[in-house]
Amino acid sequence: MLPDVHSALSRRALLLGGLACAGSATFLRGTSALAATTLLNVSYDPTRELYRGINAAFSENWKDSSGSSVTVRTSNGGSGAQARSVLEGAPADVVSLGLARDIDMLAQKGLVAADWQKRLPHNSTPFTSTIVFLVRKGNPKAIHDWTDLVRGDVQVVTPNPKTSGGARWNYLAAWGWALHQKGGTDASARAYLQALFQHVPVLDAGARGATNSFVQRGLGDVLIAWENEALLAAHELGPDRFDIIVPSLSVLAEPPVALVDHNARTHGTTTVAQNYLEFLYTPRAQDIAATHYFRPTDSTVARVHAALFPKVKTFDIASLGGWAAVQKRHFAAGGIFDQIYTQHG
């Protein structure tokens, strides 16, 4: 039964007090949770397995060197979508995104220092990757290079360049390859990409979504993917279900990392966050990266794991004019991608 009323007033006060406490507890929770040393690394899509390994190693390392404990959390999603969630207020201490342009966007809003790319070695890129093709076992559609992707009934899976970093690298790898063909011009490259996107049945928001479409849902004949994602799928999701095809020319993909100065300052985590980023360049982290199929920048570690990675001929983003120019021309609203994809529909 319902309890007796002793004093209506005190009941009301109690009720309102309780609500106020509960409410403020929720609002403060975000900040207080960060007061204990917790780092948040907002990352792009295919690094789930990678950072699970690295975060554990870093916590151990930090405990040994400083005596205090730290928990590193990672959230994953399409690179562009993740950068936007940091803009929206996701409390990232560090970001590790698919391409420099997404971190530049954070720098423009003052969340990251403008010179972020010079603060760590190799343009703030601890490991690199490239773009390759993943096909069904035995390569039934005989796909060997970019030309084969626009042939007849071939279906290509690649994520949405508006939200995914990997998708932009995929797009640019195709663009660069088309430019490097005999007599290649902007017009011929554009025609190639337009043809390519007519073979794309699904645009997932991130690289992992695209891999799922290809691997789990059985969509498409070829997945254009990060090399690390393709190797992961080929080795661990179904050793006898997929083959990796290396195209004649691809792009050197550089997924960079940066400290989110504004947030780290607020959380009081600048030192440990900086240490975390530097840790990525140590042989231990580089070794973990290689086991997750990211190409180490440390040449000693790279040599140890050389057998994992196929030889790929690559060009870099600078040869296309750098990210600022590329983003504006291709991926901004009304840019080349929009024109191509609208016509596709």
């Binding site: 936007r84 803009l87 939200t163 699904v202 645009l203 997932d204 928001a205 479409s213 849902r217 529909g345």
Partner: protein, 285 residues
């Protein structure tokens, strides 16, 4: 609104205490949690300027997504009508072994969270799934196609039909059917001529509820739909895609249309229900 109500105050001398307190707390609650955010949704598309709105309205992908949502929700609700009527009929009128179990299971789609429904149906109907694999041998692909969306929407919509029709059927006296039988009507004629017309308003209402729910459904669909633009991309998913692209104007336009559509749909169902009720069963009650 508050001033208007207080200034009119019909029962200024209402002796029952608590009017002011209840009024203010309700206005605060409704205002903060419902009216304020919905105002933002209604105002925002116009704030972006006419350019953004026209651009959004010229977006073929948006209309394709809205069409996918509407068509699949309609088909799913339509298939659910005979299935739901059959289940309700056996529940109420047939000595069904395990009736209590079936009765409890009907509410299952209400109870299971949508994300759980999503991954479960995707696995069940996937190429390697318990149902997907045998169906694939027959050349039928459910998962990652339009059929997958319909299957998911049928699952979440089924209880709406059954729970709408059930109380009405319970209220219909079985004597009426017996009388029709005595007058020489076959059991099918009885069902067709006597029972179904009386159940029509409740069925329409259940259909409308399932349809409205289907238009907006997200969690149970995205795992099993192929999410291909122009083909299997539902409108709520496109809202999320636009948000991830940081395209607030685009997301808001779709959300606005979605809101208007479901409101119209519910209003239409309410009207249709009233009309059917007046026109067809005035004699029964």
């Amino acid at each position: 609104m508050a001033e208007a109500i207080l200034s009119v105050r019909p029962r200024t001398s209402d002796p029952l205490p608590g009017f002011r307190l209840a009024l203010f707390s309700t206005l605060l609650w409704v205002g903060l949690i419902v009216a304020l955010p919905l105002t933002a949704l209604v105002v925002r598309p116009w704030q972006e300027g006419l350019g953004a709105m026209t651009m959004a309205l010229h977006d073929g992908r948006m209309f394709a997504a809205l069409r996918v949502s509407f068509v699949t929700a309609f088909i799913a609700a339509l298939i659910n009508v005979p299935v739901g009527l059959l289940l309700t009929w056996t529940l109420v009128r047939v000595r069904l072994p395990g009736r209590r179990i079936v009765d409890a299971l009907i509410d299952l789609p209400f109870a299971i969270p949508t994300a759980v429904t999503g991954i479960t149906l995707a696995t069940l109907y996937g190429p390697q799934g318990w149902l997907g694999k045998p169906l694939a041998h027959l050349g039928i692909n459910i998962a990652y196609s339009t059929a997958g969306i319909v299957v998911a929407l049928m699952f979440v919509g089924l209880p709406f039909i059954v729970r709408s029709v059930e109380p009405v059927l319970r209220g219909l006296p079985p004597e009426q059917e017996e009388a029709a039988g005595l007058l020489g009507a076959s059991s099918w004629q009885t069902v067709w001529r006597v029972v179904l017309p009386s159940l029509l308003p409740a069925t329409v209402s259940g259909f409308g509820l399932a349809f409205a729910r289907g238009i907006g459904e997200y969690g149970s669909v995205i795992f099993i739909a192929g999410n291909q633009p122009f083909r299997t991309e539902i409108a709520p998913l496109l809202v999320v895609v636009r948000l991830q692209e940081f395209d607030y104007a685009g997301a808001t336009s779709i959300a606005f249309l979605l809101l208007v559509a479901s409101m119209l749909c519910l209003a239409g169902v309410a009207m249709l229900r009233r009309r059917v009720a007046r026109g067809l069963i005035s004699g029964v009650n």
